[in-house]
């Protein structure tokens, strides 16, 4: 029974778009998107940390919405467009939010940073001039242990000031 199920799972095909490119993968439908990205595709900018959707280190965009990839299974990605930190800006360029984090020092160890930047990007695309309450809500699922969020808030401020979320480079 287990073997049959495993065989059926292994047969499953995932078709989706990751960072703008179509992807077809043979993967069990229950495999976590986090593992698919990191272990199968080598996209290690998406980080593994709590794996219960509390810390946000694994945050990616699915059809533009921030989602914890540790809680997302392969079958839920079918036909979706997935953006990871690696796909936020064209190769070699920086997204304006990345640029602001860089300039303001919105990171220290950097392990939460990809997820944080993904969440901030999504927030500013929805709401270019968010209130503190909106920021709080949007980042309630992103933990940073190093900065005390000071540098992160400064980075967001700068990104708001600059407006315009168009990619550079």
């Amino acid at each position: 029974m287990i073997d049959k199920l495993a065989a059926k799972q292994a047969d499953a095909k995932l078709q989706c778009e990751i960072n703008g490119s179509p992807v077809t993968l043979e993967t069990p439908p229950t495999r976590k998107l986090l593992q698919i990205l990191r272990d199968d595709l080598g996209l290690t900018g998406t980080k593994r940390s709590c794996e219960i959707g509390r810390c946000g280190a694994c945050m990616v965009l699915i059809d533009g919405k921030p989602v914890n990839s540790c809680l997302t299974m392969a079958y839920q990605c079918t036909g979706k467009s997935i953006t990871t930190i690696e796909g936020l800006a064209p190769e070699g360029g920086l997204h304006p939010v990345q640029q602001c984090f860089l300039e303001e020092g919105g990171y220290q160890c950097g392990y939460c940073t990809p997820g944080m930047i993904v969440s901030v990007t999504s927030l500013l695309e929805r709401s270019p001039k968010p209130s503190m309450e909106e920021i709080e809500e949007a980042l309630s699922g992103n933990l940073c242990r190093c900065t005390g969020y000071g540098g992160i808030l400064r980075s967001i401020s700068r990104a708001i000031e600059r407006g315009g979320m168009a990619h550079e480079g």
């Binding site: 810390c55 950097g110 392990y111 933990l143 242990r145």
Partner: protein, 797 residues
Amino acid sequence: MALNRETSGNRWRIRPDGPGKVTGGLAYLTDLSAPNMLHGLVLRSPHAHARIAEVRTEEALALPGVHAVLTHADVPGLNRFGIAHPDHPVFCEERVRFVGDAVAAVAADSAELAMEALARIEVDYEYLPVVSDPELAMREDAPQLHERGNIQHRNDYVRGDVEAAFAASAHIVEDTYETPRQMHTYMETEGGLFVPEADGRLTVYSATQHGLMDRMQLARILARPEADIRIVSSPIGGSFGGKDELNVQPYGALLALACGRPVKLHNNRFESVRAGLKRHPMRITMKTGVDAGGKLLAHRVRIVSDAGPYSTLSAEVLNFAVEHTLGAYRYEAVEVRSFCVFTNNGMSGEFRGFGGNQALFALEGQLDRLADKLGIDPWELRRRNLRQRGDPGPFEQPIAQTDGARQVWEALPASRLWLERAEAAAAAEAAPAAPTASAAPAAPLGMTPDADLRSASSGTAEAATLQLPWLKIGYGASFVMHGAGLGVGIPDPAGGRLTLAPDGKIEAAFGYEEFGQGLIASLEQMLIEKFGFAGSDLRLVVGDTDAVPDSGSSTASRATSMMWQALERMREPFAHSLLQVASRVLVLPKERLRIGEGGVCDAASGERLLAYRELAQSAAEPIACETSFSYPASPVERVGAHYLYTYCSVGVKVEVNTLTGRVRVLDQFHAVAAGPVVNPQGFLGQIEGGASMALGFTLTEDAVMNSGMYLTRNLDSYLVPTIAEQRGRVEVLPIEELPDGDAHGPRGIGEVGSVGLAPAIAQAVFNAVGKRVSKLPIDPAELQEVPDIVKEGSCPV
């Protein structure tokens, strides 16, 4: 001047590791993989205390795709680890002493198979009584966890006649302070990649705070020469002391060598919780007496620290706590008795602040309680008892003298926050019925945009809610004198190397690790500012035992100080060597040349005359300079006494909701006297980040255990501050001035930000609602009040 981007000008620099961090391109050691790689997992004890009757591994080994199942019988060398006292078994032989103890390890083709293999290992345990209360563990009839007994270490310090001093005291306060089992909660859990190389060597890619220490310990476990092991230990996704001891390394190394294939381990969060270090829970009883004029006469301290099952650096942490329960004050007589006790609870060990956090919460709490008895301002009581310049340290040991204590003391009353507090007090006096914080916040000076964002929004929220009678505002402050370096009695080496590499890069090699603190950014900035190099001239080499000299550990707020001192020592000789060769090549007198961006320049015009690449090609021998020295130590016998100190004053404003019992920190001020600011962005980040850790320590963080079992398993029940808890303002004021002729340069700032906030919040809570908090994290139930409407009886109770 408040520290921020604007006030830092062009000293605010983009970190060299920044681009890789914001793009996700930087590979952490747990991101690495290798062809033909296996996955390793460790089988840990499900019991807090048990005898191992039998371990059967055959079924696990028989599983196709499982390549090794190891137990203690497979350890060729010392089956123990631990930096100072190696008593932590790699694999337990006959007994497990906590729920993280390792019994076996497996390597398999996939993580799923490895998990299945773990499930097929059978271990027969016989339960033993669990020792979970350190006080009970000290009793003679308690089950003994080690042959040496349950008291791992004690440290007494007695000076003067404390009984006579109490007899002479006008006021005495006594309280017992309890602190939580705080978890480091680095976002990257322990893990790494272990690669047996073709030449027979082993490469370990795994986080630590002292690569050479890991190499020594692994050599001892593996029974191999140290030279056969290479430790690559950067970059790291946070450590805070928690990755100082070995964690997954022994298992990865043993499995990789047993299989002859690369092995990867990466702890899931619960494994990190159960096996990882925590801050020592301490119970500190203090009795302190003053005369009628507020002069401290007598100070009696008893510390009981929960070490957990093995030593780690528990003894050293206790020594640090003893020193810091005395702190920045002078007393007629003191008596400290302290104990560090083995239990079957989780592992306690190194954690940012190193015992100072617990000690300061108690000590500053005493000062606040005494000021209350005396009816004077708590800050004034501190002034009357502060060590003056020229005074010795807490153990009466000689220390490097600065004016730091006076400087940070004076900075608080002059701060924006304290001026606001004075205005609020004046307003309250004028209209006693009005809420205490009705004064409009003063216009921020030189505040960063984030502060505007924070104050604009929270200010509005504040204004809207201030009138609610169940919201109470209070202010509190604390004073910190924090030692850095390992202290007397512990080897504390330092050193570094500068080389002009064949490709023309100036290579700076230090045996330190980058775990987020900004070490390489500080190194780059010092090389630029001290020598005149451009960032692009440099190659910074850290975290690789094959490539670095012995610089000591990246701990104890010491690394930036030691890099600064090493560069001071190497500046003249290295610059001299570069210019001498350049002078020969250019056929120009050395005096006409100087170090510049991109190459050697004309000293007068600044025109670049010889690129470093050309210089490297012209040099007959490699141009290099190396230095080796030790962290400065006090010339006394007292183990753990420090020589260099950082001083800090912390002021906070809190809001207590007496309906929910919740405390919000609205505003913080930190004055930090630590000598010159090496890297403004890093300095600000260390104080802000340390304070955030202290906020969690004070309000929400505790890895809860019951009879040696973790009830806390992950971040759903372990609550580190989120951005919502951090919406208050944070102002950091560095005081850079040092006495003329001071040779020690920048003092440590990596830990001090995490120390002072707890007692300041406790005092602010007292000022808001009149309740003394002596146990952390603060239990909201203690601060809840019965609403008037219930008290009046209009609701049936």
